[in-house]
């Protein structure tokens, strides 16, 4: 088996045992990227020298008998909103072109200390605002299963890179579904941890009360391994929870006898495609056959979560993105005309249309005369949405839902109507508003060969239970083992 086809756990075991070197793993990943990324376009920047130097340090540790860490030699891609000291980080935006991060994000430092080898930065929707990766200032990513379709977003590059075997592990961020939805559309596993489980230090903020960093991989075991390394309190993030990190890589239980899994009645009335519904019902049957009890639950405010989310997230974004004003970072424009004009010109030139739209929306819902009707009301609805989940978890251990109402759509299909794009987030958004952990795993394919994602949601800080339920499904099915066919020089179809 080629190294790039191995899981992260398998690569780390191979490097630790001296079966192959971290350098060989890095070279194989770089070769694979050279072969397929002309089609997929997941990476914005590669750092071969840095990757090989890091790999050599791992190999030296192995040779000298030191512990090289649980991610020894695993090639990792990073979404382009995670800071690596001295490396360019742009958030997929022209406004940060050329900006080099002055420090490492906490997750970057923790992965590095665990033996991970960083390959480069992965494409994304500008400032993580988007569900298709078409809002990047640097061009869209292609879905490896069909290059004329979107990979999902905003962590589209991370999902596509893992699906196309360019890296075994990638880190993304999830504010309203930006890990789970691209994981679903690209057929890989993507975990959004509980809010506060992972430090956000060094993650460029979109909506601070919703953002959370999480891993993408091709197996639930790998996602669990990455979470164990990333998670835990951090004095540099006051919102990181002061809780110890539980073991997430235990063997899945042999049976789910006695486990109650909730299926929300509302998810069948929110525009799910027929094939997604079929795969979802089949996934539920896998659990039922394993002894789990499936119970119908109610999430009555699910249909209101999109409106609630797009008020709160844009309000927070309008405030967070005020710092991009041509003074401390990135580009500057209109400097000859005075301070305010310089701000306005820099932001007009540096931000793309979706970011401008959301900043304006957020500014509007926070402005005098509209604050009460929009923002203050949305915060109350957010409470109702969280109450819905709390009530549901009184009767079930985890919730099952589709991740996305459809499989991957075509490039350009939804760009003309921002609201239609927002509505595709219906199944993922509530989890962020309530701060819960959730994972998307591959539960099969539609007739066109496009992957369908199963979303599993657990109560806050119950990642071990969440990952048990996900691993159980993976142990009974083979969908996650299928890989997209991509050859050198393959052109986008359609």
């Amino acid at each position: 088996m080629k190294i790039h086809e191995m899981t992260a756990s398998r690569i780390a075991a191979g490097v630790r045992a001296g079966e192959f070197s971290a350098r060989e793993a890095a070279l194989d990943a770089l070769k694979r990227i050279g072969e397929v990324d002309g089609t997929v376009r997941a990476f914005l920047r590669l750092d071969p020298e840095g990757a090989l130097a890091a790999a050599d340090r791992i190999d030296e540790r192995v040779a000298s008998g030191e512990d090289p860490g649980p991610l020894a030699g695993v090639p990792v891609g990073l979404k382009d909103n995670l800071c690596v000291e001295g490396r360019e980080v742009t958030c997929g935006s022209a406004i940060l072109a050329g900006y080099a991060a002055p420090y490492d994000a906490t997750v970057v430092a923790r992965l590095r200390a665990s033996g991970a080898v960083f390959l480069g930065q992965l494409n994304m929707d500008e400032f993580a605002m988007g569900s298709s990766n078409e809002n990047s200032s640097y061009g869209p990513v292609r879905n490896p299963w069909d290059p004329c379709r979107v990979p999902g977003g905003s962590s589209g590059g991370a999902a596509a890179a893992v699906a196309s075997r360019q890296c075994a592990l990638a880190l993304g961020s999830d504010t309203g579904g930006s890990i789970r939805q691209p994981a679903s559309l690209c057929g890989v596993a993507g975990l959004k941890p509980t809010y506060g489980r992972v430090s956000r230090y060094g993650l460029i903020a979109y909506a601070s009360s919703l953002d959370q960093i999480g891993p993408f991989a091709r197996s639930v075991e790998d996602v669990a391994l990455a979470l164990e390394v990333m998670a835990g309190p951090d004095p540099r993030d006051s919102t990181s929870a002061p809780l110890p990190v539980p073991s997430c890589r235990r063997e899945p239980p042999p049976t789910l006898e006695g486990m109650r899994l909730g299926v929300p009645a509302e998810c069948f009335s929110e525009g799910m495609s027929a094939e997604v519904e079929e795969r979802f019902r089949e996934a539920c049957a896998v659990y039922r056959d394993a002894g789990a009890e499936l119970v119908e639950i109610r999430l009555p405010r699910l249909p209101d979560s999109v409106a609630c989310y797009y008020i709160i997230s844009t309000a927070e974004a309008s405030s967070n993105l005020a710092r991009f004003d041509g003074v401390q970072y990135g580009i500057r424009s209109g400097a000859g005309e005075g301070m305010i004009e310089m701000y306005q010109q820099t932001r007009a030139q540096g931000f793309g249309p979706e970011v401008k739209r959301r900043i304006m929306l957020g500014t509007y819902v926070l402005s005098a005369g509209y604050y009460e009707a929009f923002y203050a009301r949305a915060l109350k609805v957010r409470r109702l949405i969280k109450d819905d989940f709390d009530r549901a978890f009184e009767t079930c251990g985890c919730i099952l839902m589709p991740t996305s109402p459809t499989t991957a759509f075509r490039l350009g299909e939804k760009t003309a109507d921002p609201l239609q794009m927002y509505l595709s987030d219906i199944f993922t958004i509530g989890v962020n508003l309530a701060g819960l952990p959730a994972i998307s795993i591959n539960c099969g394919f539609d007739g066109a060969g496009l992957p369908v994602g199963l979303q599993i949601i657990a109560p806050a800080f119950e990642e071990p239970r969440l990952l048990d339920v996900a691993r159980f499904f993976e142990g009974r099915t083979r969908h996650h083992l299928r890989s997209p066919v991509l050859g050198p020089g393959e052109e986008a179809r359609g």
Binding site: G196, I311, Q328, R332, G338, M342, R357, V381, R382, L419
Partner: protein, 99 residues
């Protein structure tokens, strides 16, 4: 909540508050798109939220203090190096006051 939709003047006002220069075409397109999004958001007006405590954050937030001792950091040069214009260790901006 929003009778008659967002006006051109309101689009201009919001752009000014957000420090965004917008073209005539952007005013028109953003105005139309914001209207359709805000109209959709008005559905929240139908929910009864009387007596509901707002939820601005899922965690019980409290201030986190550290020991008052010096620690190593990146230093001012690392931050100044990322700025578009600096002079003598300061960020350089266009004139704020005219004479």
């Amino acid at each position: 909540m929003n009778d008659g939709g967002i006006t051109r003047e309101e689009v201009e006002k919001v752009a000014r508050l957000a420090r965004l220069a917008v073209t005539a075409e952007e005013k028109q397109v953003f105005g139309r798109q914001l209207n359709s999004i805000l109209e959709y958001m008005e559905k929240l007006g139908a929910l009864n939220v009387d007596g509901i405590e707002p939820l601005d954050h899922v965690l019980p937030l409290r201030n986190v203090m550290r020991e008052d001792i010096a620690a190593s950091g990146s230093g001012p040069q690392a931050f100044l190096a990322a700025a578009p214009a600096t002079r003598d260790g300061f960020f350089l901006v266009p004139p704020v006051l005219s004479d």
